[in-house]
C-alpha cells in the first residue's frame, strides 16, 4: 500500500527546514493550505455530483441529460454555478435579516467540517483524533439548525412547514444513523477513523461483521438518505406540496449553498458508509489470497475511497429517481416503529457477536 503521508511530510519539511519558518507560522500556513485544498475538493465534488446526478437521472428517464456544454456536458455544472454566482441576492422585507443570511452558512459549514475527518486516502486525512466518527456525527447535525433557521427566518408558511418537517425528520433519523455507527464502532473497538480503516485490513467490516453489519448497513443507507433530505425522503422540499420547502425564499448563491450542501451531504453519507462498511480507502482484500491482495494494493487508496463513496451515492440517487415520496406521518412511524427498534436490536446482536468472537 502506497502511503501518501510522504506528501504531507514533504510540505511540512519544506516549511520548517527549507524555508526555516518558525513553529507558529508553519502551523498557520499548513492550516490555510489545508483549508484551500479542502474547499477546492469540496467545490469540484459538488460540481461533479451536479453533473453526475443529472446524467444518471437522465439515463433512468430515457433522456440524454446535459450534452451541449463541453464533452458529455461536463462543463454544464460550471456554467450553472457561474450563473448562480452572478445572480442577485434578493433581500426580502419581513424576514429576520441576520438569521436569514446566517442559515445557508451554517448548512455549508456543517458539511465542510465533516470533510475534515473523512479518510481520503492512506495518510491523507486532515485530522485524526480518537473520537473522529463521533465528531463527524456531531458536526453533521449542525446542518439541521441551518435548515430550521432558514425556514423560520423566511417568515413564510411554506418554509416554516418545510423546516419543521425537516427538523422532525433529521432529528429522528439521526438516532438510527448513530445507532448503526455505534454498532460498527462496537465491532471495531475504536472511534478513530484511522483505526477503523486499519481494522479492515484483512477483510471489510461488511464481510467480517456479516449479519449485524449488513443490517446496520441497510439501516444506515436508509437513514442516511433521509438525513440528506433526498427522495424518497425529500419532504422538507417536497416541490409539489411546499414549492421548495425551507429554501423557497432564497436566491442566488445563498440558494446555491443549500444546493451544494445537499450534494456534499450525499457524498459524506456515501463516504462514511464506505468508511464503516467497506474499509474506507482500504483496498479489497481476501484473507489468504496474497497475490490478489498485492494487485489490489497497486490501485491508489484515493481512488478506492472515491469509487466506493460514489458507488454508494449512486445507489442513493437510484432511490431518488425510482421511489415516490413518503408522507410525513409514514416517514416518522417508519423511523420510530421500525428502523430504531431494528437498530437497537442489531446493536445487541453485534455486541453478542463480538463478545463471542463470531466475526471473521
Amino acid at each position: 500500500m502506497q502511503d501518501l503521508s510522504f506528501v504531507t511530510r514533504w510540505i511540512d519539511n519544506l516549511f520548517r527546514v527549507v524555508l526555516g519558518c518558525p513553529e507558529w507560522l508553519t502551523v498557520t500556513l499548513e492550516c490555510v493550505l489545508l483549508g484551500v485544498v479542502l474547499l477546492l475538493v469540496y467545490a469540484v465534488l459538488a460540481l461533479f455530483y451536479i453533473w453526475f446526478e443529472r446524467k444518471v437521472c437522465a439515463a433512468f428517464q430515457c433522456r440524454l441529460g446535459p450534452n451541449r456544454v463541453g464533452p458529455f456536458g461536463v462543463l454544464q455544472p460550471f456554467a450553472d454555478m457561474f450563473k448562480m454566482l452572478i445572480k442577485e441576492l434578493i433581500s426580502l422585507n419581513h424576514t429576520d435579516k441576520f438569521l436569514f443570511a446566517l442559515a445557508p452558512f451554517l448548512v455549508i459549514v456543517a458539511s465542510m467540517l465533516a470533510f475534515a475527518v473523512l479518510p481520503w486516502g492512506n495518510g491523507l486525512q486532515a485530522i485524526d483524533f480518537n473520537i473522529g466518527i463521533f465528531f463527524l456525527l456531531a458536526v453533521s447535525s449542525i446542518g439541521v439548525l441551518g435548515i430550521l433557521l432558514a425556514g423560520w427566518s423566511s417568515n413564510n408558511k411554506f418554509t416554516l412547514i418545510g423546516a419543521l418537517r425537516s427538523g422532525a425528520q433529521m432529528v429522528s433519523y439521526e438516532i438510527s444513523i448513530s445507532l448503526s455507527v455505534i454498532t460498527m464502532v462496537v465491532l471495531c473497538g475504536s472511534m478513530s477513523v484511522r483505526d477503523i480503516v486499519m481494522a479492515q485490513d484483512h477483510c471489510w467490516f461488511i464481510f467480517s461483521g456479516h449479519i449485524p453489519a449488513i443490517i446496520a448497513f441497510l439501516v444506515y443507507i436508509i437513514a442516511g438518505t433521509a438525513e440528506t433530505n433526498r427522495g424518497p425522503f425529500d419532504l422538507p422540499e417536497a416541490e409539489s406540496e411546499l414549492t421548495a420547502g425551507y429554501h423557497t425564499e432564497y436566491s442566488g448563491m445563498h440558494f446555491g449553498f443549500f444546493y451544494l450542501a445537499e450534494y456534499l451531504n450525499l457524498f459524506i453519507v456515501g463516504g462514511v458508509a464506505a468508511l464503516l462498511f467497506f474499509g474506507g480507502w482500504m483496498p479489497f482484500h481476501i484473507p489468504g489470497w496474497d497475490a490478489f491482495n498485492q494487485v489490489m494494493n497497486y490501485i491508489p487508496s484515493v481512488i478506492w475511497f472515491l469509487a466506493k463513496a460514489i458507488l454508494i451515492t449512486f445507489i442513493m440517487i437510484w432511490f431518488k429517481w425510482t421511489f415516490p415520496r413518503l408522507r410525513i406521518d409514514q416517514l416518522l412511524s417508519f423511523e420510530w416503529k421500525y428502523l430504531m427498534p431494528i437498530s437497537l436490536v442489531n446493536l445487541v446482536l453485534m455486541t453478542l457477536v463480538v463478545v463471542f468472537g463470531l466475526t471473521f
Binding site: C62, W321, T322, F323, P324, R325, I328
Partner: protein, 540 residues
C-alpha cells in the same frame, strides 16, 4: 316517463310539461325546491348534471338537467326568476351538493341570488366587478370594468340569503375559517395545482381542516364569446377547455349542432371520430398518470408516460397538423382525411401499450410507498359521487357505474365491445388503477376499429351558412375526466343565444374540500392528482 308526468302533475299542478329530447318541466320558483326534492326522493333523479343560468331577454332563470343515477334517465327543469332587478331563486344546495358551486357560477354571471345557498360570493369574477356579464343587457363599456391592477382583497366571510317566515329576505354572514385557523394559501401559482387554481387551506399541524376554493384566474368567457360568433366559429374554443380532451370536446359540440340540424354524419367520419376520441383518452390518462406520479415524487414515471404519449401525439399530428389544439372535428364530420400511415402507426401503438402498461405497474403501482400514499386516501363514496356530480374514472372507481358511452350512447359506441371499468374502493389507488384499466379498454376499442375504417366521405354536405332552428339541445360525451356536456339554446339565427359547456373538471374541483377533510397536506396532492382536474376546463 309518462308515469313521472302523471304523478308530478298530480302533486304540482303549476308545472307545465313539454317533450323535447327529454321530458321538460317548467316550474315557478316557489315550487322548485319541492319539485326537486320530490324528483330526487320519489323518482331517483339524484344527480344534478347541469345547472345553467339563462337570460331569455325579458326573464332570467335557470335550466337544470337531472339524471337518475341508476336508470340514467334524464329530465330537464326550467325555473324562471320573478324580475330582472332583484332576481331570487330558491337554492337546492341541501338536495344536491354540487348545486352550491353551480349556483355561485350563475350568481356570478347573471346576478340571480339563491335563497339558502350558504356561500353567495363571486366565483370567477373579482369582487369589485360591475354588472353581470352574461346578461344580454350587460354594459361592455371598458370604463366600467377596467383592467384593475390593484390587489383584490380576500373576503373572509360569505353571504347567505335567508327567507324569513314572513317572506322577507335578509342576509346572514358566515365566516369561512375559524378565527384561530392556520390558513396556508396554496396557489394560484403552485406546482401541484397544474394551472392557476387557488386553495386556501386551513391546517392543524399537517392535517387539513377545510379548503376554500378560488377560481377564475384563467377565465376567458368562452361561453359569452360564443354568443357573438357563428356556429362553425365556436368549435375551436372547445379545444381550449380541457386540452387533454380536445377532440372529445369538439366531438361533443359538433354532435350537438348536428343533432339540431338533423344532419347525418358519414360512417367513415364517425369511425375516425371514435378512434380519435379513444387516442385522446389514452393521451389524457397517460398525462394524468405521469403528472400525478411526479407530484408524488416519482419523477421517472412522468417520463415513461410521456414516452408513450409522444407516440400518440405524433399520430395525431400527422393527421390533424397539431399536437394540442387540433381543431379537427367540424360540423358534419372531420376536417381532413386520416394520414397515409395512420393505420400502421396506430397498430404500432397498440403493440407498445400493453408492454408499457405492464412497465408502469412494475415501477409504480406495486411500489410499497406508492401503496401507502394512495390506499385509503381521499375515499369517495358512490353516494357522494352522485351528490357532487363527479363523473368519469373518479366516479366509476367509487362504484357509480356511469359512463356516458353506455348511459347516453352516442356515435358508434353502441356497436363496440368494451367494459365500463368499475371499482368499489373509491380511494386514490382505485382512481389510479381505474385509469390504467381504462387505457387497456381504449386500446381494445381502437383495435376493433382500426382495420374497419370504411371508405366514403369524411364530411357531410353542410350548407354554407349554418342556421339552427329555434330550440335547445344538450349533448354529452365521455372525456378522460368525465361527462362533458354542451348546451345550445337557439333563436333561429346563425349564432347561439346561449352556449354552455358543462365541464366535468368543475365538479371535480368542487369535491376537493369534501375529500380532503381530515387528510394530510400531502394527501391534497394525491387527491388532486387522482381527481385529475384541468384548470382551463374549470374556468372556461
Amino acid at each position: 316517463m309518462a308515469n313521472i308526468q302523471e304523478t308530478i302533475a298530480g302533486q304540482f299542478p303549476e308545472v307545465e310539461f313539454a317533450q323535447g329530447e327529454t321530458l321538460e318541466l317548467n316550474v315557478p320558483d316557489a315550487k322548485w325546491h319541492d319539485l326537486a326534492a320530490s324528483l330526487k326522493e320519489a323518482f331517483g333523479f339524484d344527480n344534478l348534471r347541469a345547472l345553467i343560468g339563462m337570460d331569455w331577454g325579458e326573464q332570467l332563470g335557470i335550466v337544470c338537467y337531472l339524471v337518475n343515477s341508476k336508470t340514467y334517465e334524464m329530465i330537464r327543469v326550467k325555473v324562471l326568476a320573478d324580475n330582472r332587478e332583484e332576481p331570487f331563486l330558491h337554492s337546492v344546495t341541501d338536495l344536491f351538493a354540487v348545486a352550491g358551486i353551480y349556483e355561485r357560477e350563475v350568481f356570478d354571471f347573471y346576478g340571480i341570488k339563491f335563497i339558502g345557498n350558504p356561500d353567495m360570493r363571486h366565483l370567477f369574477l373579482r369582487n369589485d366587478w360591475v354588472g353581470y356579464p352574461f346578461r344580454k343587457d350587460y354594459d361592455t363599456n371598458p370604463e366600467l370594468n377596467p383592467v384593475r391592477l390593484n390587489h383584490e382583497e380576500t373576503q373572509d366571510t360569505t353571504v347567505e340569503y335567508v327567507e324569513g317566515p314572513d317572506g322577507k329576505i335578509h342576509t346572514v354572514e358566515h365566516a369561512i375559517f375559524a378565527p384561530d385557523d392556520f390558513v396556508v394559501n396554496i396557489g394560484p401559482q403552485h406546482p401541484a395545482t397544474h394551472g392557476v387554481l387557488r386553495l386556501r387551506t386551513a391546517v392543524e399541524g399537517e392535517t387539513i381542516k377545510k379548503i376554500d376554493l378560488y377560481l377564475g384566474y384563467i377565465h376567458r368567457g368562452i361561453e359569452k364569446l360564443c354568443e357573438g360568433l357563428t356556429y362553425p366559429q365556436t368549435i375551436h374554443f372547445t379545444d381550449r377547455l380541457d386540452y387533454l380532451g380536445a377532440l372529445m370536446n369538439s366531438h361533443c359540440l359538433c354532435m350537438c349542432i348536428e343533432k339540431a340540424m338533423q344532419l347525418e354524419v358519414p360512417r367513415r367520419a364517425q369511425v375516425i371520430r371514435c378512434i380519435m376520441d379513444e387516442l385522446m383518452r389514452l393521451n389524457s390518462h397517460l398525462l394524468a398518470m405521469g403528472t400525478f406520479c411526479m407530484d408524488l415524487g416519482a419523477t421517472t414515471m412522468l417520463f415513461y408516460a410521456l414516452r408513450e404519449r409522444e407516440t400518440i401525439l405524433d399520430i395525431l399530428e400527422k393527421t390533424t397538423g397539431a399536437r394540442m389544439t387540433f381543431n379537427y372535428n367540424c360540423i358534419g364530420g372531420v376536417r381532413q382525411d386520416i394520414a397515409e400511415d395512420f393505420v400502421s402507426d396506430v397498430k404500432k401503438l397498440l403493440e407498445i401499450m400493453p408492454k408499457a402498461i405492464k412497465e408502469y405497474n412494475k415501477v409504480f403501482t406495486g411500489n410499497i410507498i406508492a401503496k401507502n400514499r394512495m390506499e385509503g386516501v381521499g375515499v369517495l363514496s358512490p353516494e357522494a359521487a352522485v351528490d357532487y356530480n363527479v363523473t368519469g374514472p373518479a366516479a366509476r372507481s367509487a362504484g357509480w357505474n356511469y359512463d356516458v358511452r353506455r348511459a347516453q350512447p352516442y356515435g358508434i359506441y353502441p356497436e363496440l365491445q368494451f367494459d365500463v371499468v368499475t371499482r368499489t374502493e373509491g380511494d386514490s389507488m382505485a382512481r389510479f388503477k381505474a385509469r390504467i384499466t381504462e387505457m387497456e379498454q381504449s386500446c381494445r376499442i381502437i383495435a376493433q376499429l382500426i382495420d374497419n375504417i370504411p371508405d366514403g366521405e369524411i364530411c357531410a354536405k353542410v350548407p354554407k351558412v349554418i342556421k339552427l332552428p329555434e330550440g335547445h339541445w344538450f349533448q354529452e360525451v365521455e372525456t378522460g375526466k368525465g361527462a362533458f356536456g354542451c348546451y345550445i339554446e337557439s333563436t333561429g339565427t346563425t349564432s347561439p343565444w346561449r352556449m354552455k359547456f358543462n365541464s366535468p373538471c368543475f365538479c371535480l374541483a368542487g369535491v376537493v374540500d369534501h375529500l380532503t377533510r381530515g387528510q394530510k397536506i400531502a394527501d391534497l396532492i394525491t387527491i388532486g392528482g387522482t381527481l385529475d382536474y384541468i384548470v382551463p376546463d374549470i374556468d372556461r
